[in-house]
């Protein structure tokens, strides 16, 4: 009996251990070791922090690093700003079929690949694209307008890609807020903004934080959207990692970059949790 139970437990836990070990822990240990290697000659390596030093000493790397972090934070904030009213409407105001339909609408873009979705935006925004043509037709522009390959285009793409991951946790937490609590707020003299501030947002905090963490990580680690919508000057940090690994075969520096990105996202997520007084269990549970 006990042996059978033990076997069952082992069978259940094995996929998890395999997943953690093979896909997360071992590659990261290996990456870390690679990042500490310095090539001193052909096929000769020495352990040093040279890769991290060159990351700190090269302004372009640091600049791209900081830029990626700031833009990801901005994209997260923007997604929250747009996603919150959407989630509130779906969770609290829409009823029955309208509600399912709206929820489905949030989901529909994810039925096609990210590549196709991003091409969609390129079709809209490019010089000969829809927006440009409409502006010319309306007489607001007298020459084709290029709306691709700038930061705004990257932002649009990031927000669009991340929206679902913000809206879903928000709907879940807002759904669990009893309507009577909101009504009690009005009944006791609260106004719309004060109820939002004192009742709705504190209640939705776990959803806001978990949505923000997911969106932030997705944006930070996104490769396709910044490259395609931002062009060759997009200066996204993942692009640097890619070029070190694939273009320049400098795995050592690429691994160091990868680790810097991991540290950055960990620090920002930890900071956000501390700042909002949430714990990872509460937001992800």
């Amino acid at each position: 009996m006990q042996a059978a139970q033990r076997l069952g437990f082992l069978l259940l836990v094995t996929p998890l251990l395999l997943w953690l070990g093979l896909l997360i822990i071992i590659p990261h240990i290996d990456m870390f070791l690679v990042s500490l290697r310095e090539r001193v000659g052909v096929g000769e390596y020495a352990t040093s922090l040279a890769n991290y030093r060159s990351f700190i000493e090269e302004p372009l790397y640091l600049m791209t690093f900081a830029r990626t972090a700031v833009m990801s934070v901005m994209a997260t904030a923007l997604t929250l700003l747009i996603g919150f009213p959407v989630a509130y409407y779906i969770a609290k105001m829409a009823r029955g079929r309208v509600r399912s339909a709206l929820f489905l609408l949030c989901l529909v873009p994810f039925w096609v690949s990210e590549l196709v979705r991003t091409f969609g935006w390129m079709i809209l925004l490019r010089e000969t694209g829809l927006f440009s043509s409409v502006l010319q037709w309306a007489g607001l522009a007298d020459a084709p307008v290029e709306m691709l390959y700038n930061d705004a285009a990257i932002m649009v793409g990031l927000v669009y890609t991340s929206m679902l991951f913000m809206v879903v946790p928000l709907i879940t937490t807002l759904d669990s807020l009893d309507d009577a609590v909101i009504e009690a707020g009005y009944d006791l003299g609260g106004s719309g903004p004060s109820i939002l501030r004192e009742i709705v947002i504190p209640h939705a905090m776990p959803g806001i934080v978990s949505g923000s963490i997911v969106v932030f990580m997705l944006s930070l680690g996104n490769y396709l959207t910044p490259i395609m919508l931002g062009g060759k000057d997009s200066l996204w940090f993942t692009e640097l990692i890619y070029s070190q690994f694939i273009v320049r075969f400098n795995w050592e520096l690429g691994a160091a970059f990868g680790f810097m990105l991991l540290i950055l996202s960990s620090v920002i997520v930890w900071g956000t949790l501390r700042l909002t007084g949430q714990t990872l269990e509460k937001t992800m549970g």
Binding site: V181, E183, L188, G189
Partner: protein
């Protein structure tokens, strides 16, 4: 006459084709405890939500202290509501919960602290200000929910079945406590419930509601002993009911032959019932006297004999079911707990009687 705290005139609410509240008018004098009693779906919650301002009436007027509040938003009305599940704010501690309305009014902080302290004292929970909502027991939450409203000194306090979620023992206790709180705050309470015992115990006036209309409004005692409609007779308290044909009418007393063949005397209390019509007669179990011999019940004008088919022991509210030898279905009779009938068991012969005055008659089919 003093001005009523709350007056509703011809209040009507239609949702599409259905009329949830149909031309209801009532007045609640200051400082009184007014209950609306009705089965679920009778429209009582709709009335409550219209008074609170969450729904706009289709027709009619709501006046609070003489002033119409129809165009006043819910957050500006001088009424507050205790919600069914209390709706305390789980993200705040108790003091912040109670202080919420005061903060919204823009009172200075020291005054809020003083008032919150005072009201916590009033409800007998002076030291719970810093506790969280989920650390309180059901009864404490109840009192906090009332305190949260009362601290704003509303003209009328609305209570939407607030005892529904409590267990029986606590509910009995809270009934008495609510009544005491109402006296202590000296505020008009409007209470809605489907539990007749809550309404009967606490209220000065009870309105029985059915299908969007008030069936009867009056003191608990009147509703119980002098129901004006068959619905009230059936809904408030328990009753034995017979349906039959009216054989003769003499002033207020009428003779009725039940479908099961019993000859019964009842009272029509001024209602229009004539010979040959079909009527229902309602008799309360505790209005029926139980006796060991026919002599015990000889002075009643309704008398039946039969055997006990069932003993329903329920402490002070114990009953027996007896089957009359004259025929018809079982009759529920209150079982006196004075010891006289302690040896009664299934199959015992018993005699029952009641006065015709206790049998309320209504035209059949009026429920």
């Amino acid at each position: 006459m003093t001005q009523p705290d709350l007056a509703c005139t011809h209040l009507t609410k239609r949702f599409g084709d259905t009329t949830a509240v149909d031309d209801v008018s009532f007045e609640v004098p200051p400082g009184s405890f007014f209950s609306i009693l009705g089965p679920s779906g009778c429209g009582k919650t709709t009335i409550m939500r219209m008074i609170a301002g969450f729904l706009a009436p289709s027709d009619g007027d709501i006046r609070i202290k003489g002033r119409s509040v129809l165009d006043v938003a819910p957050n500006k009305r001088p009424v507050n509501m205790v919600f069914q599940h209390l709706a305390l704010f789980p993200m705040m501690n108790i003091a912040d919960n109670i202080g919420y309305g005061l903060r919204r009014k823009g009172l200075p902080k020291p005054e809020i602290t003083r008032k919150v302290g005072e009201v916590l004292e009033r409800i007998g929970l002076p030291d719970i200000g810093t506790r969280k909502v989920d650390e309180l027991s059901g009864g404490q939450k109840q009192r906090v929910a009332i305190a949260r409203c009362m601290v704003l000194e509303p003209d009328v306090l609305l209570l939407d079945e607030p005892l529904g979620a409590l267990d029986l023992k606590l509910r009995e206790h809270m009934k008495i406590e609510l009544k005491a709180l109402q006296a202590a705050f000296d505020t008009t309470f409007v209470y809605i419930t489907h539990d007749q015992s809550e309404a009967l115990v606490m209220s000065d006036t009870v309105a029985v509601m059915n299908a969007g209309r008030f069936e009867q409004m009056g003191a608990a005692r009147d509703l119980y002993y002098r129901p004006e409609t068959a619905f009230v007779a059936g809904f408030v308290g328990d009753s034995n009911r017979w349906r039959g044909r009216v054989e003769s009418v003499q002033s207020d007393v009428l003779r009725l032959r039940s479908d099961s063949g019993l000859a019964l005397l009842g009272s029509r209390h001024g209602r229009a019932l004539s010979d040959g019509t079909t009527a229902d007669i309602y008799v309360r179990p505790e209005a029926i006297r139980l006796g060991h011999s026919p002599e015990d019940v000889a002075h009643f004008d309704n008398r039946l004999s039969g055997t006990v088919t069932s003993l329903l022991f329920n402490g002070a509210a114990s009953r027996i079911l007896m089957r009359p030898i004259e025929g018809g279905e079982d009759i529920e009779v209150a079982l006196p707990q004075s010891g006289e009938f302690a040896h009664l068991e299934r199959g015992s012969d018993v005699h029952v009687g009641w006065s015709s005055d206790q049998g309320n008659c209504f035209a059949a089919g009026s429920v």
